[in-house]
Symmetry: C2
Amino acid sequence: MSRIVYVNGAYVPEEDARVSIFDRGFLFGDAVYEVTSVLNGKLIDFPSHMRRLTRSLSELSMAAPAGTDELLAIHRELIARNGLSEGGVYMMVTRGAADRDFVFPPDGTQPTLVLFTQAWNEVRSPEVENGLRVAFVPDLRWGRRDIKTVQLLWPSMAKMEARRLGKDDAWLVEDGMVTEGTSNNAHIIDREGRLITRALSNSILHGTTRASVLRLADEAGLTVEERSFSCDEARAAAEAFITSAGHFVMPVTEIDDVVIGDGRPGPLTLRLRRLYMEEAARTAL
Amino acid sequence: MSRIVYVNGAYVPEEDARVSIFDRGFLFGDAVYEVTSVLNGKLIDFPSHMRRLTRSLSELSMAAPAGTDELLAIHRELIARNGLSEGGVYMMVTRGAADRDFVFPPDGTQPTLVLFTQAWNEVRSPEVENGLRVAFVPDLRWGRRDIKTVQLLWPSMAKMEARRLGKDDAWLVEDGMVTEGTSNNAHIIDREGRLITRALSNSILHGTTRASVLRLADEAGLTVEERSFSCDEARAAAEAFITSAGHFVMPVTEIDDVVIGDGRPGPLTLRLRRLYMEEAARTAL
């Protein structure tokens, strides 16, 4: 069955969902996005995604396409129309369509708003049982990774490189330190049980799941160190995991061909996942 | 009058020119492009643009949408249908449409091909008389600037920053050295009359006009040094200019608030522009 998607005010079958070739999202990568997870038909961490969207738009001097209430209503309408129980809703905002020019179009140009659903099952994913195997790939992305733009070619290429190496995903490396995963934040737990994760900066995405998990870890009494960690530290970790809206808390059991711990998802990782999933279910909208 | 543009095999009015919201050019910046200048209805440096397109596609493991002869025919058809005398033809190739996934879609996915014309007049541009004023802006682009992708948000933002500073354009700076302009290569001529320009690498676009102008400079007896130059060297230059398919050879008369030479387009710059324009007219297709 064809999905119903949303494009600039209209709910249309996905085959008919089109934008102008002059859209700046298409010509310049001049667009930002959010992916909100759906569990049992409800939205996870929606207010956090909206806060980040607002920040991304602000950093790019881009107009908001609609208010939070209206965007929430569109999310819910798409979930209902597509009967989505588990998966996610992708939302993208571009600076709109204008004749091609590096100079931004005039204020008042109508932003483009696109949303669509994707069905997936991360709750009972086999990856949770086995953990992910990740490869190191150099981080060649631009300098404003804190803005969630659609300039995603390098993350996509890095994921392909990881697959070529027979792994599930890549951890990106800059100056010998891990920045993050291709579309997720990277975390390790050292042999003293400390959760180590890169501090927020322009070098990484400010993950919504990352923020929740760090808070839950702190509340659970774990020591959380927000600092950069090296490839060597990652290989020597007792546990490792990624966080993302799509994967929640996902164990990593192999890094750069080195088995992490005993090769099974770590106990603290699984505890954090459980805590996150409980809170997510409780606060879903 | 509305332009006729080309989208995936069809010539359509620009208002009807649309692509799927699932196009990877829209969702991932997974697309490359070329802009070929048109003078007197003829294409400048077309073979060079085709060679670079082929290289860009190859670096991204992306399929070619059509052969060179067919692409040339589409360029000419658009020039004819739009009665274009002076301006350019924009050509963009994406990896095609597929449901959103960082993993590339399967081989055989149909690439998207989009072309449109833009009318402009660079031959008698007032900027040639006065020269451009450029500001230094940090270069925050990704690490594969040699691939001509549509991930152009930073160049666009840098151009806006230059405008905010009251200048015409930006020269991007990394580690104290100039990389290039926002959509052009940057060159200086020092007080000994040497043309200094950054060597080719992943840090800059391999400009088609740059290549022709360096060859013409060498043939004209100028000393050409292909090496990085600093912001200090740029400010102390006797002459400066940019090259691009759209601007050919364009004088720069102010850099970072410092007047270059006597503030007028430099004699060697204008000589190179003349040599380039003569050859361009002679070899246009």
